[in-house]
Structure formats: structure tokens, C-alpha cells
Amino acid sequence: MHITVGDVVLPGDLIGEQDELKKVVYGPGLRVHQNQIYAVTSGIFKKKPDANYYYVDTFHQKRYVPVRSEDVLGVVTNKSGDIFKVDIGSSEQASLSYLAFEGATKKNRPDIQVGDLVFAKLVVASRDMEPELVCVDSYGKKGKLGPLPEGGFVFSCSLNLVRKILKKDYPLFNVLGKDISYEISVGMNGKVWVKAATIPQTIAVCNAILAAEHKTKDEIDEMSKQILKMLAYC
């Protein structure tokens, strides 16, 4: 490969030729075209440490590209026919059927208005079709999917921040949870919904999440201490 792992690539950069003999997986940000491999997003060209899996790690990307089986947070923009149209921040609005809710029948429709927030899972997400969402899993149970409760505040942040805070051992939520009791819902499309008991607490949690973008794991503790100190003044 002319471009080595760890290089910064821009869309259109030719990475190399497809090796027919080896089994290589090309992940997000790479595309194969006529036996050539191109980068389609800007970022760092990376490889998974123990597998033949290459991808481009994009930082500070805000525009969401739908990927199947990801959980996203969307805003209902339209009710028409048998489906809701939901804005998930991608190039096209996603559709969410009335029947894709727990216990929904043709007579018993879910009580969702235009402007409501829903947490749903992508079941169809391809380049050529409009994305489709469901609020129920394959057993018919809703789990944590469905419309979000009233109140709280929703804001957008970059995609890599969302991926970072959803990692298994990321301390942010626990550290904040020691002093503030709050409800949170994080969509992989960069939308985060927070609800705490009072308005300053909600703002504090949102601030902590936005500030965590540029902090390492060790600095999270220090940062949340500062924010909680500010909160004490309110």
C-alpha cells in the first residue's frame, strides 16, 4: 500500500490495490472501485491491531451516515399514512412505521406528535434507499427504544465524541452520576438527550459532555469537579 497505516488521508486518495489472495476487510471510510481502494472520508488511515481490518477514522465528523443496527435519536417531522418521518441528521429522513412499537396495532396507534423525540434502531440503511427505523426488537419488546419522556434537553455533538462516551469503561457518566441524578439517551447520530431534576443540573450535564470531547480519561474527574463547583453556585 502506498499509504501506510497512520497516515492522514483525504477523500479520493488512492490507498492501493485490492489483494485478491489475502482476506482483507475494508471498513468505514474505504471503498473498492475496479480493484482499487479509495478513501472516501478524511481522517487517519487505521488498522485493527489483530485482524486484517482497515478503516479511516474520521474525527469531528458531524454529518451522520446511517449504519444498520445502530441506535439513533431522531425528531419526528411528519405523520403521514402509516409512517412517521424522522429526522436523524442524515441526508434523507428515515421512516418509522406506526406498527413498529410495542403493543401497537392498526387500531391502537402510538401517541407521538410532530416534534417528539424517539430513540430507535436502524434496520435498513443503505446508500440507495431511505433509512428505516423500528422501536421494537425482534422479540417484540421495546427495551430502551421508543419515544422519550417529556422534559429535558436535546443537543448535537460530533460523532466521535458520541462513540467515545459510549465506550464500556468511560468514566464520564459514573462520575457525574455521583452528584447529579439524571436520565440520558445517546444516539449514534450525535444527538444526546439529558434530563435532570433542575435546569442548572441539566445544563451542567450537557456542558460536561461537550467538554469531554477534548479531554482524556484522566482529566474527566478534574473537569467534572469544576463543573459541579459551578453548579453549586446556582
Binding site: V75, D116, E150, G152, I203, L210, H214, Y233
Partner: protein
């Protein structure tokens, strides 16, 4: 692309936060975002940033024929363009409603106020005049485009240099800038726009709304004011009930803000000129460096409890005064912190008062309210009259500052002393001339003394009908200056 829909949760959150006088980005209700001005390497090119909102303005000029109705005036053309890089819902091509509104507001503020001296742009009357064109482009929309655009246009106009022209009888020579220094455009005054957003039927008014606050707002007020506190334009938009008192109150605040902006602009212009003369490189290079998003020290977020300036101020105070945790009184609109330290305040000549700071603030607020109720007129309010003991009319009262703006600190300073009259206090003073019909025999017009009012009335300035006084003053020691009626 259509503008993305605003969810119900965002709307309700912003409105409930406002009812607690709280804003998403930690600003106070009347706080503006910091405005920064950067100049390009060409004359007449500048970028203005107001928080995340970014606007670029470029001025150019051309020789054209004047309008037939105004043959000795130059032309001023103003164009505002919403570039698609400003927001996802901005479209190139046909102008949207917002673009038309912006254009009109800027025209009102800059063109209709006649701040540019158009007659100085005339070369030959009826034949050749300079046509100055200002192109404003919105680079990023994060609320309050009008303010940024108006300041950008004004700064670009002040910065611009047009070529020098000499006219002989038949020929007109336009000199190359290399040959002869280009000359600046004359501006009579500097009008800028200051906007406010109105919520909850006029109960909450915030300054400098961000994009999301604008979308949730019910009404908008845009003032075009110049540095001399003259109103050059006014726009009331949306459908919130905006009262006259509100307009007056915020107009005075807008005037203060306009003065700050114009001073900042002049300072930036002077610095840029100095740099150019001394040969330092000028251009937009600094503009890019200051927006370095990857800096770990970034502490200004879209959603936060307090602004970085506020935090710095608190840190400074905490280090200066070694006290236990102070509670910030954020409930009052724009008061500074209320420490309950008693403070000695001078009240006129030769007297002082030990006043509790909080009490002072209350008085100030009451005074402010008085001023505001008067429609923001300059009003010499006798501050101590409502609470103090003396009811002598001609006492010296404290003068407030000669403007209706809120006091920044809780110090009362004697700026000027108000003396009712220069004469002795007990002289005859006509308080009110009560016009009575000449037919009445029972009533007489009499002059009132200061004594009468001291004994009789409790509110200053209210005259009393002499008939009433007759009824009450039927004592043996009553004044002898009026005669009892004899019939």
C-alpha cells in the same frame, strides 16, 4: 434543504430556562457575545465575528452616472448574501425571506440614515459619480446576523479607500493608488444595529439571541443606533406584544451598546492603520488562528452554566477576598453580586450615610424602575425622598447619572447637586397655577408659600385649592396674608 425541525423538548427547555433568567450559554439576559473585527489585506475588507456568527464585508467602487433626481450625489449600494456555507438551509440563487429582511434592515440603518457623505462622492455633477458597493456575505449563522452584518458593513466602509480624482475642465483623471494615496470615505456618523428577542408575551427580553433562541422567540426588536444615541432605524418583528415602555427601555440600552461597538471599531481601525504604516503584515491570518478548535484550553461551549469571563471574574474575586463561599444572586436581572457589607455613602454636602449594600441596591432598583416607568426619560429622581425623613422640598438631592441606564455598581456618587432654586428656601414659589373662572365670587387665587405645603400636602408638587385651605386653616394663628371673606 429545509431547516431542521426544532423539537418540543428544546423549545420548552429554553422557555423554562428563561423563566429562571437562565440562558443556554450562561450569559445574562442582557449580555452580548464578544465581537471581534479582523481586517484583510485589501482596503475595505473585514470579517466580523459575534460568537460563532461570522460575516465578511467587502467594499468596492466604480464610476457611474448619478441618479437623475440627485445629480450631485454618489451612489451607495448594499447587498447581503446568505452564502450556503452559512447554514444548511441557506440556498444559493433566489433570495429567501431572511435575506430580504436582512437587506432591508441594513438599508434602513446605513443608507436611509444617510451616514455616508454622498455629496463628497460626486466627481462631475450629472455625469460622473462614485458608486460605492458593499457586499456582505454570511459565513456562519449562529444567531443575530443583523448586528454582525451591520457592523461589518460599517467597518468596511470606514476602512475603505477610494482612488483620488482630479478634474480639469474637460478631463477627469482617476489616479492609480500607487501614484497618489487613496482617500477614505466620509462618514457623518456610525450607525449599528442592536437586536433583542422577545419571549412569553413580552415578559422576557434577551439581548443578542443565538440561532436556537431566535427560532424559539416570539418577537424580535432591532434598533439602529449610532454613537450619538440617535435612533436610525427600528424594526419590530414576530408576534409578541411589544409596548412603548419596552421599546424605550431597550433603546437606551442599545444606545450604550452601540457606543461600545463604535469605540471598538474605531480602535480596531486605528490599530490596522498603524500596522499598515509600520509595514507589519496585515490580513486574515490571525482570524484563522484564533478559531483553533483543537486547543485543549477551549472553555467556551454552546451550553454552559457561566461564561468564561464570568468564571475568570469569580476566580479573581475568590483569590482577592478570602471569604467563605458566596452565593451569587442570579435572580435579579443585571445587578452585581450583593455582598451584605455596609458601605459609607456620601449624601450631598457634609453628610454621609451608612447603608447596607443590599438596601442600596433596592433603592437603585426602585429608582431604576421609576426611571423606566417614566419611559426612560432623564429624570432627576430624589432618591432619598421615598425613604428618608426630611420632607423639605428644597433639599439637596443626589443626581443620578444623566442617562437611564442601570447602574453598574451599587455606589451612589454625587455627580451634580440639584438645587431647587438659587434663592432662599422660604421664598414664594408658585407650585401650581389653578385656572379659575372669573365668575366665581367665592374663590380667590392666592399664592402658596412653602410653609403651606409643608404643613398640608404630603406629595411634592401638588397645589391646593385655596378654598380647601380656608376650611382647614381656621385657626387663630393662621396666616394673615389672606383675608377672610366678608359677605
Amino acid at each position: 434543504m429545509k431547516e431542521s425541525i426544532l423539537s418540543i423538548s428544546e423549545k420548552t427547555f429554553i422557555l423554562s430556562a428563561l423563566s429562571e433568567t437562565r440562558r443556554l450559554d450562561g450569559r445574562k439576559l442582557d449580555e452580548f457575545r464578544p465581537m471581534k473585527i479582523h481586517f484583510g489585506s485589501d482596503w475595505g475588507c473585514c470579517i466580523v465575528t459575534l460568537g460563532q456568527t461570522k460575516v465578511i464585508a467587502q467594499v468596492s467602487c466604480e464610476v457611474q452616472q448619478p441618479k437623475p433626481t440627485r445629480p450631485n450625489e454618489g451612489l451607495l449600494l448594499l447587498f447581503v448574501e446568505l452564502s450556503p456555507m452559512g447554514a444548511p438551509h441557506f440556498e444559493a440563487g433566489r433570495q429567501s425571506d431572511l435575506a430580504v429582511q436582512l437587506n432591508r434592515l441594513l438599508e434602513k440603518c446605513i443608507k436611509d440614515s444617510r451616514c455616508v457623505d454622498l455629496e463628497s462622492l460626486c466627481i462631475t455633477a450629472e455625469e460622473k459619480v462614485w458608486a460605492v458597493r458593499v457586499d456582505v456575505n454570511i459565513l456562519n449563522h449562529e444567531g443575530n446576523l443583523v448586528d454582525a452584518a451591520s457592523l461589518a458593513a460599517l467597518t468596511a466602509l470606514s476602512h475603505f479607500r477610494r482612488p483620488d480624482v482630479t478634474t480639469t475642465g474637460e478631463q477627469t483623471i482617476i489616479h492609480d493608488p500607487a501614484e497618489r494615496d487613496p482617500i477614505p470615505i466620509t462618514l457623518h456618523h456610525h450607525p449599528v444595529c442592536v437586536s433583542y428577542a422577545v419571549f412569553d408575551k413580552g415578559n422576557h427580553v434577551i439581548a443578542d439571541p443565538t440561532a436556537i433562541e431566535e427560532r424559539v422567540s416570539e418577537g424580535q426588536i432591532v434598533f439602529g443606533v449610532n454613537a450619538y444615541r440617535e435612533l436610525c432605524g427600528l424594526h419590530l418583528g414576530g408576534n409578541a406584544p411589544i409596548t412603548l415602555e419596552m421599546v424605550n427601555k431597550y433603546a437606551t440600552r442599545a444606545a450604550k451598546r452601540a457606543l461600545e461597538l463604535v469605540t471598538q471599531m474605531k480602535k480596531a481601525l486605528a490599530e490596522d492603520l498603524k500596522n499598515r504604516i509600520s509595514g507589519i503584515e496585515v490580513g486574515f491570518r490571525d482570524c484563522i488562528d484564533s478559531n483553533n478548535r483543537l486547543s485543549l484550553g477551549k472553555d467556551n461551549f454552546q451550553i454552559q452554566l457561566f461564561t468564561p469571563d464570568f468564571k475568570k471574574e469569580r476566580a479573581k474575586r475568590a483569590s482577592n477576598i478570602d471569604v467563605k463561599e458566596e452565593k451569587i444572586n442570579d435572580v435579579m436581572d443585571d445587578s452585581s453580586e450583593d455582598d451584605s457589607e455596609p458601605v459609607i455613602v456620601s449624601v450631598g454636602k457634609g453628610s454621609a450615610e451608612l447603608v447596607n449594600q443590599k438596601k442600596q441596591d433596592m433603592k437603585l432598583r426602585r429608582k431604576r424602575k421609576l426611571q423606566n416607568d417614566e419611559g426612560g426619560k432623564e429624570y432627576d429622581v430624589d432618591e432619598s425622598s421615598s425613604s428618608e425623613e426630611s420632607d423639605n422640598l428644597d433639599k439637596e438631592s443626589e443626581d443620578t447619572r444623566k442617562n437611564g441606564e442601570p447602574m453598574s455598581d451599587s455606589e451612589i456618587q454625587v455627580v451634580a447637586e440639584y438645587k431647587g432654586t438659587e434663592n432662599k428656601p422660604n421664598e414664594n414659589k408658585v407650585i401650581a397655577n389653578i385656572e379659575l373662572s372669573g365668575d366665581s365670587e367665592e374663590e380667590e387665587t392666592v399664592l402658596l408659600h412653602g410653609e403651606d405645603l409643608k404643613n398640608g400636602s404630603t406629595e411634592k408638587g401638588r397645589g391646593r385649592c385655596p378654598k380647601e385651605e380656608k376650611m382647614e386653616g381656621d385657626e387663630p394663628h393662621s396666616r394673615g396674608w389672606y383675608s377672610k371673606p366678608t359677605w
